[in-house]
């Protein structure tokens, strides 16, 4: 049986960067690279990234 699922993943990423450099931009690309690299260990799954957006720890809805 073919199955599908949409997963929301909440990541916390830390790393060194220049103060003025766009950390959101570089980490989004890093996550894409990490997922792309990991997909090869699961050839039975087709994984598509539909979007990566910056979250906020202090989200108003909480």
């Amino acid at each position: 049986m073919q199955k599908a699922i949409a997963l929301r993943v909440n990541l916390w990423i830390e790393g060194e960067d220049k103060p003025e450099h766009d950390f959101a931009d570089s980490t989004k690309q890093a996550v894409r690279d990490i997922i792309a690299a990991g997909v090869s260990s699961h050839p039975d799954l087709s994984v598509k990234i539909r979007g990566i957006v910056e979250g906020n720890e202090g989200d108003e809805t909480r």
């Binding site: 003025e20 950390f23 720890e57």
Partner: protein, 253 residues
């Protein structure tokens, strides 16, 4: 012959209907665009907020290596959030800000993408140094954000505070007021523990700072906030105690 006439008549009716639909659609779109444009460029009017055409320019400095523009997002908005100058604060009623309108066309848009009408409309009141009295419905440390260069350390986080008109309200009709890292660094007693105690005890507070429009949270209006107008940053925070206003730095619950 009569069949041919009927067919010709039917074809003519169809073309007339199509033409009518096209005209109505075109006219409707034209009127809708005109309406939206008029909404977005209507000057905001508030009888309770003063007109100050020449507002002070923000004083900006880097904070622990983080420039006022932050590390991404809307750099113009970040510069407003990161100003550190004091102003000649004007006391205004709570409703003057909570009921103040904004052009809906600016929502979720960077300032560089606003049209000149909207920019002028918002500029009429943005940058006013104001004071509002109220109560706190909540106070929380934010996560890492672009205005603070996504600094991981707690010293780089904003404090997000919900100001309400009366003591018994939730956040629904609140004004969001924010303490920023650069200003907090100048105050020994600005911490979330003390703010949460003020929330719990329903103390009356007086908040002074710069009026600013944050276009990023329109979806939260009437849910967790009453408006996207904010006091951001807060420069002074006082608590009423025995009929006197005590600065937060000197406040002992």
């Amino acid at each position: 012959m009569s069949n041919q006439k009927r067919q010709f008549g039917n074809a003519r009716s169809s073309w007339l209907i199509i033409a009518a639909v096209v005209v109505v659609t075109f006219l409707g779109s034209f009127l809708l665009v005109r309406y939206l444009r008029s909404r977005s460029t209507n000057p905001l009017k508030s009888s309770a907020l003063p007109d100050v055409p020449n507002k002070p320019q923000p004083l900006l400095r880097s904070f622990n290596g983080c420039p006022p523009e932050g590390d991404g997002g809307d750099s113009e908005l970040n510069r407003l959030k990161n100003r550190i100058d004091e102003g000649q604060y004007i006391s205004v009623p709570f409703d003057a800000v909570e009921k103040l309108d904004w052009p809906n066309t600016i929502e979720r848009r960077r300032r560089s993408d606003w049209n000149s009408g909207d920019t002028a409309t918002v500029a009429r009141y943005e940058g006013l140094p104001i004071t509002i009295d109220g109560y706190l419905a909540g106070a929380r440390q934010e996560g890492p954000e672009s205005p603070n260069c996504h600094g991981a350390d707690a010293s780089f986080r904003d404090f997000h505070i919900w100001l309400t008109k009366t003591a018994a309200e939730d956040r629904t009709n609140s004004i969001v007021v924010e303490m920023t890292p650069a200003v907090r660094a100048q105050h020994r007693n600005w911490n979330t523990e003390l703010l949460q105690r003020i929330v719990r005890d329903k103390d009356k507070v007086r908040v002074s700072g710069w009026l600013m429009l944050d276009p990023e949270h329109p979806d939260q209006v009437s849910k967790t906030r009453g408006t996207i107008w904010e006091i951001h940053p807060i420069l002074r925070f006082e608590i009423e105690q025995s009929g006197r206003w005590i600065p937060l730095d000197d406040f002992t619950p």
